[in-house]
Symmetry: C2
Subunit: 269 residues, 2 copies
């Protein structure tokens, strides 16, 4: 924990008027730091908040434990204003939490089971891609299942296009090509996704959920957990689940994703 | 203010995982209390939160000043959980703020000037109508103008249907019929709106913003400010503003709206 709690009238709780980042930290050093700063800066621009100086964002790292931890940074517009209107001179508030972290290495190796969520994400291009504090859709989607065997739920938008999973981005290979959903209408543009798009020829596409039926391999990933192969996707309407064998193609993508996180890059079967 | 601030890890700020109500209070007595309780209960059902006992929600009223005040109640899922997943045994958190209030009586009489917002509301039927804590769309829409002469901004959804104003509901009369937008896809179903729908033959309709061009009268209202006649609507693309003369029809609707709020019901020109 860091720097106390939130005042009663903080706009973060009143309206979700702010942004956050969840950063993997290894022995006090943040991973994908540039990508996190870039996304936070983009969010600040859209919300009209001043981007905090890097030394302020990095200050909590001095308290990081040895080994792995997660730094959660939260930035709100602070207190005040008349209703939704921003205060004339906003005083943004930065808070953080630093927690020890242990990744789920079994999921790297054996892959995960996922499902389709019933909830559809609303289309809001202005906020698309940002890691803002309005996350009720994710909370409700994650509340659709309690079975601990199911690692994630896939989300479509209100026009039935694939977007992401509740807290991870989605990737697949189809006819030898790597693809991921475009995130210009909704969804969170993950920092691991940004790194993968830089380093691999991954096309950003509009795709209906049916596209996964013809996928040769499917992955989920984020900058804290790394990359999970999808081994099983439960049918949306009670159909038989779809299954994938974890193979060389999964391992190649994991190698690229895990290198910048400091996670194992050789996960042979 | 009441009952301290928020812990660092409250899900209200982390995800906007909660609800609020803003209640007009006159000499310690809440107005439209049943309607506020009903909306909060509906929100609790959708979010899977236990509805707080009425005596807990009413407790802050003991500190209400004489005259007019606004009670803001905020209910969150509390702390904890693994990411978006709800904690196994959630301990919801209730906080409140009680502030003196002075309504803008000039707006009741002379009406207000409004504009169209550029931002389009995302369509999310699951959350439609609720007063939840994910209000970044409202904040961004309200941030579109700074001119103090403009009282409100009208919002359409992503399919260009009229929904509401940033913090008020919208009503109009067309060919002698009273109408208001349906709120089953997005928007906040105001408690004053609920009372007006009960007491007057107001049809809930799907309407493009162009409908206002043929409206004989337009109003905005909420349970704190009462009912504002719209005297002028600025054109969306630089066209000439549309103007309405405040007349008997405006006063009749105000009389119905203001009675349960304890506001003046005779506002003759």
């Amino acid at each position: 924990m860091g720097a106390g709690g939130w005042p009663l009238d903080d706009r973060g709780v009143a309206y979700g008027d702010g942004l956050f980042e969840t950063v993997l930290v290894r022995d006090g050093a943040p991973r994908l730091w540039e990508a996190h700063l870039a996304r936070l800066a983009r969010g600040c621009q859209v919300l009209g908040l001043p981007m905090p100086a890097e030394h302020r964002l990095a200050a909590p790292l001095i308290d990081a434990p040895p080994g792995l931890a997660v730094l959660k940074l939260m930035l709100t517009r602070g207190s005040g204003g008349r209703g939704y209107a921003s205060p004339a001179a906003p005083a943004p508030r930065l808070r953080w939490q630093l927690s020890p972290f242990v990744p789920d290495t079994a999921r790297w190796k054996a892959g995960v089971r996922v499902r389709h969520c019933r909830l559809r994400l609303g289309i809001q291009p202005v906020l698309a891609g940002l890691k803002h504090l309005n996350r009720l859709e994710n909370v409700l989607a994650r509340g659709e299942w309690a079975d601990a065997d199911i690692a994630e739920g896939l989300l479509c938008d209100s026009e039935d296009r694939l977007v992401e999973a509740t807290c991870m981005n989605l990737f697949w290979q189809r006819e030898g090509r790597l693809e991921t959903p475009r995130l210009d209408r909704c969804g969170v543009a993950g920092t691991l996704r940004a790194v993968l798009l830089e380093r691999l020829p991954i096309a950003e596409v509009d795709a209906a959920p049916g596209v996964l039926a013809s996928a040769e391999a499917v992955w989920l990933g984020n900058s804290v957990q790394g990359l999970w192969p999808v081994a099983r996707l439960d049918g949306a309407g009670g159909e038989a689940p779809q299954r994938w064998t974890i193979g060389a193609v999964h391992r190649r993508l994991q190698a690229v994703a895990h290198a910048p996180l400091g996670y194992p890059t050789r996960l042979d079967n």
